[in-house]
Amino acid sequence: MIAALVVAAVVAAVAVVLVVVARRPRRRPAPARKLLVPFTGGHLDPRVLEAAIRIARAEDALLVAAYLVRVPLDLAPEAPLAREVEVALPLLEEVEQAALKAGVQVDARIERGRTATHALRKLWEVERFDQLLVPAPTERSPGLAPKDVAWILEHAPAETVVIKPAPPVPQAA
């Protein structure tokens, strides 16, 4: 009788363990390809983000969203940049939420340099990317300047796509 109870208890315990193991959420392996989306100026156009997510999902790529911060010349190149970080954090959270909601793995970063292109160059010197997706400059966007995009097109180490941001929403009369 006691032996039967012991066996039953053991079987129950094993069953509980198996159920628990089976329920554990699994982290997906990191994708092999990487799509870099550099942006700056306290803004990432929704259309660019949408395109980035779509491409990353189609290519099964890791979306690396890099907010580029400019370090003024009167500061040391590695000085902490609290004010810029304050601007960047909500944007990175937004990118992460949108990407993860769409089932795309994301690595949201802040990268810095003396200029946006300097930050970008330092980044791709140490990391390989398979594709770049760059927001096109517009008059109303405070992001990358036309000369930055021209520089990226000339120097980028991977295929580069420039995406036109969404047109301005017409004001109600």
């Binding site: 040391a76 590695e78 940049l81």
Partner: protein, 362 residues
Amino acid sequence: MPRGRHRILLGAAAGVGKTYRMLQEGRQARKEGVDVVIGYLEPHERPETAVLAEGLELVPRLRTAHGRMQLEEMDVDAVVRRAPELALVDELAHSNVPEARNRKRFEDVVEILDAGIDVVSTVNVQHLESLNDTIFELTGVRVRETFPDRILDEADEVVLVDLSPEALQTRLRAGKVYRAERVETALTNFFRLENLGALRELALREVAEDVGERRRVGIVDPGTQSAVRERILALVSPEPRSQRILRRAWRSSQRLGAELDALWVRPPGSELTPDEEVSLAALRRLASILGAHFLERDGDDLAAGVKEVAAERGATYVFLGTPDESRRKEILRGSLVSRLVRELPGIDIRVVADRGLRKERT
């Protein structure tokens, strides 16, 4: 026997005048009737320094054969035997020859202090262990000679020997720091204005923190000291999701006015994959942008490593990501979170969710 008092003269870089100041203090003390000896002096071939050392008793150095070379180190036993009231010891972070009893000079100084002798010593901020990564990122130079932060914490006084970066460059150009043939290289490498500015800021911050800490100790019961000053410890590992943990921890540190440390406990002998190398480098960059201190420890027991670092850094708040451990390990050894709760009494613990694992509401 009461322990000797330790006064550290901290500088931003070589040439700011630490050794000079140490000798001035030695001379002044002798004038006031104190029995002073030079335990170890690094004259750096600087004539002004040599002149200032004249007349101060120099304890003969210990000569040690190292291969074919004869190297000289401070003779700790001779200093202790001589039993002066005050010993002057240059270059606290210096590594002794392998044949020496102590590996580092700061260990020699501890012996002298334990013998009841007061010590005035010198060191540059770049040698501070916790700043090693920051210094590497700032200057591109990996400093090999380091000393533990506790030596600074335990010192009775830390005094900043300050010189503006411009003035230091002027001294360098005038040949007062290095020989003429080394000046140009120094100016274009380590002694660049931006490097010197950043190092000076670090040195100022260290001394300011030290002063703040001492003031606090004076007014607050030491038993409750760690609870007064918030300090956050974020546990990271070389993977993209750690970026978010560190960012979240930074947000809280801003709200609490707390210092932020990022800790990676590296399993011994672990080889990083190229992706992990990239993630680790990105984390270091983020820590630097956030003004956080990036710490790396070897250890196969994460909870024990965290416990040790939390005690060392005075952490009051620990941030970690959703633990990645297997259920089997969790059942057999207890979950990491519950272990941390047990091991870190009085410390807040916050688990930052992995958004990738979240199930959307349908």
